[in-house]
């Protein structure tokens, strides 16, 4: 074959984030010849790790949920065979929420969580039990009733104590980028049931091992992962997709293409020449992406013994007013924003800390990265006394960094902002303009994080396999 001959595949997947890899894993295992094209030098999207100065850091995602027996993530990773390659461990407690007046511990045993919380809030005892029961047993009808409600509405339908409402909303704020008054009730409820009640899972040896395992399975099943390859355009003939063209001039052909990547760029750049999608591109441009995060990576010397429990996410809430914190964050007033999280790594060598942050501009972060790192470090030092003397290394990742590495529009951490007012547009956004073109990932759903990405990748693979079978 000459160098210019295009390669032909049964399916091309753009983006090696978790949704693209899960989709590729299912398709490859079903016998399709799959290629996953990734612009970064490693698979994973927000699920990557990197080494620096002898430390291993997880880049963004640092634990995941929904891996209980019967959970979607467990089912998907088992079906693809990931669980045979990696060891997944669960940390207990998964999360601790520290507020000015009390601490909430989210144990692996939900009844223990409910019991402890009831002791702290005796007047809310029955409400606490009802809330956790709702989160774990609600059916489709009960969730549809939340279609136009916020998580704040849901919390207030159970609780009277506003301190409790805001403390419970903190990890939803951190994992969703919106305060309870703005985030969709479904999204908030799912963050609870899939990240917190069933959270704290970690891949032994670093989060990168999970996407690596998915990539290995794709390769073992006759598929390919091509890193450092940027897709320039999605090709089509008439109303059907025919393949993709890479930035290096190479053409890959297939009648199935999955855009498991940033949706804004898919419409404004990749599909620019292949469809009459101006109306859709215009609508996308009015939608609001979720906020990004500012992440601090801290390397610690081996002698320090004052760390918090490894593997547990520690959430700090210094003021109960999350709406005010949100509005301060939107103005980049991080000094007075009152919510952040940190987690000591299982090997006790590093700390990952993050706070919600807006994209602002590349220039803003060039000018303010150092100061934001130092200010954030001071907040963490208040929570871990003596830490300062044991820091060997630290560096930050700004929203601009996250955009650069993942190409997510404005470094968005969770796809579109999951507000009730955007639900219809999020659904409409994934309606494909071309036969054979599918969308996957966090820009296509009101679902969240790794469980949402797994779900989306699996759902897209099922659609493709069903369509192929019917042809």
């Amino acid at each position: 074959m000459s160098k210019t001959d295009p390669s032909t595949y049964d399916a091309i997947i753009i983006g090696a984030g978790i949704s693209g890899l899960v989709c590729g894993g299912y398709l490859a295992k079903a016998g399709m010849k799959v290629v996953v094209v990734e612009q970064h030098d490693k698979p994973g999207g927000y699920f990557t790790s990197f080494k620096r100065k002898g430390f291993l850091f997880d880049a963004a995602a640092h634990s995941f949920g929904n891996y209980r027996a019967g959970g979607h993530v467990r089912k998907i990773l088992t079906e693809i065979g990931v669980d045979e390659i990696v060891t997944i461990k669960r940390y207990d407690p998964s999360d601790v929420i520290i507020s000015p007046d009390f601490t909430i511990t989210l144990w692996n045993d939900m009844q223990q969580t409910v019991g402890d919380l009831a002791k702290s809030f005796p007047k809310e005892k029955d409400n606490i039990a009802r809330f956790f029961n709702f989160l774990t047993t609600a059916n489709q009808v009960e969730f549809v009733r939340l279609k136009d409600k916020t998580f704040g509405h849901l919390l207030r339908s159970f609780f009277e104590d506003t301190r409790l409402v805001n403390a419970l909303a903190l990890p939803v704020f951190g994992n969703g980028g919106l305060p309870p008054s703005r985030i969709h009730a479904f999204s908030g409820a799912k963050i609870y049931s899939e990240f917190l009640i069933d959270g704290g899972y970690y891949v032994e040896g670093g989060i990168q091992n999970l996407p690596n395992a998915l990539a290995r399975i794709i390769r073992q099943n006759n598929g390919e992962l091509r890193c450092r390859r940027l897709v320039k355009s999605i090709l089509s003939k008439g109303r059907s997709v025919t393949g993709v063209e890479l930035e290096n001039g190479e053409t890959l052909l297939s009648s199935y293409v999955v855009a498991a990547c940033d949706m804004t760029q898919t419409y404004t750049a990749l599909l620019r020449e292949s469809t009459d999608n101006e109306e859709k591109a215009a609508r996308i441009s009015t939608m609001i992406p979720s906020l990004s995060t500012f992440i601090l990576y801290i390397g610690i010397d081996r002698s320090f013994e004052g760390l918090t429990q490894p593997g547990t996410n520690i959430w700090h809430l210094t003021d109960y007013d999350l709406d005010q914190t949100y509005s301060r964050i939107m103005k980049c007033d991080f000094d007075r924003s009152c919510a952040f999280m940190f987690r000591v790594s299982p090997d006790l060598r590093t700390i990952l800390a993050f706070m919600t942050a807006p994209f602002a501009s590349v220039q803003f972060w060039k000018e303010n990265k150092k100061k934001t790192e130092e200010d954030f470090l001071r907040k963490i030092e208040k929570a871990i006394p003596e830490l300062k003397r044991h820091i060997v290394y630290y560096d930050g990742a700004t929203p601009a960094t996250l955009q650069r590495y993942t190409l997510n529009h404005q470094g968005a951490a969770f796809g579109w902002a999951k507000m009730p007012s955007q639900t219809a547009d999020i659904i409409a956004g994934k309606r494909s303009p071309l036969q054979g073109l599918y969308f996957a990932g966090h820009w296509t759903s009101i679902g969240f994080g790794m469980p949402g990405a797994c779900y989306s990748g699996h759902d897209t693979a099922r659609r493709i396999l069903r369509t192929r079978k019917n042809q």
Binding site: A138, Q140, F186, A424, I427, G447, D459, N470
Partner: protein, 89 residues
């Protein structure tokens, strides 16, 4: 005004969100059992129906949408109510 074929439009929404072929969706099709509709897809379907027909599905109406036939009946009823309200106004 062009009459909307309610059933056809709802089948199109159900097919798109569930991934099941339009030809496999019948009036008796049970959305949960036959189309494997989970909570996220149930919200997506309801919101897509609301947007398509410019109606609002009330909390008490949600349990009435278990089959395609029931969904069509509810949309017909809500459209009739909307038209009556428009005439009164």
């Amino acid at each position: 005004m062009v009459a909307i074929n309610v059933e056809k439009e709802i089948i199109s929404i159900l097919s798109e969100i569930s991934g099941v072929d339009e030809s496999d969706i019948k009036p008796e099709t049970d959305l949960v059992k036959d189309l494997d509709i989970d909570s996220i897809k149930a919200i997506e379907i309801t919101v897509a129906i609301e947007k398509k027909f410019k109606i609002s599905v009330r909390d008490e109406d949600v349990p009435k949408i278990m089959t395609l036939r029931q969904a069509v009946e509810l949309v017909d009823q809500l459209l009739a109510q909307k038209n009556t309200a428009n005439v009164k106004n």
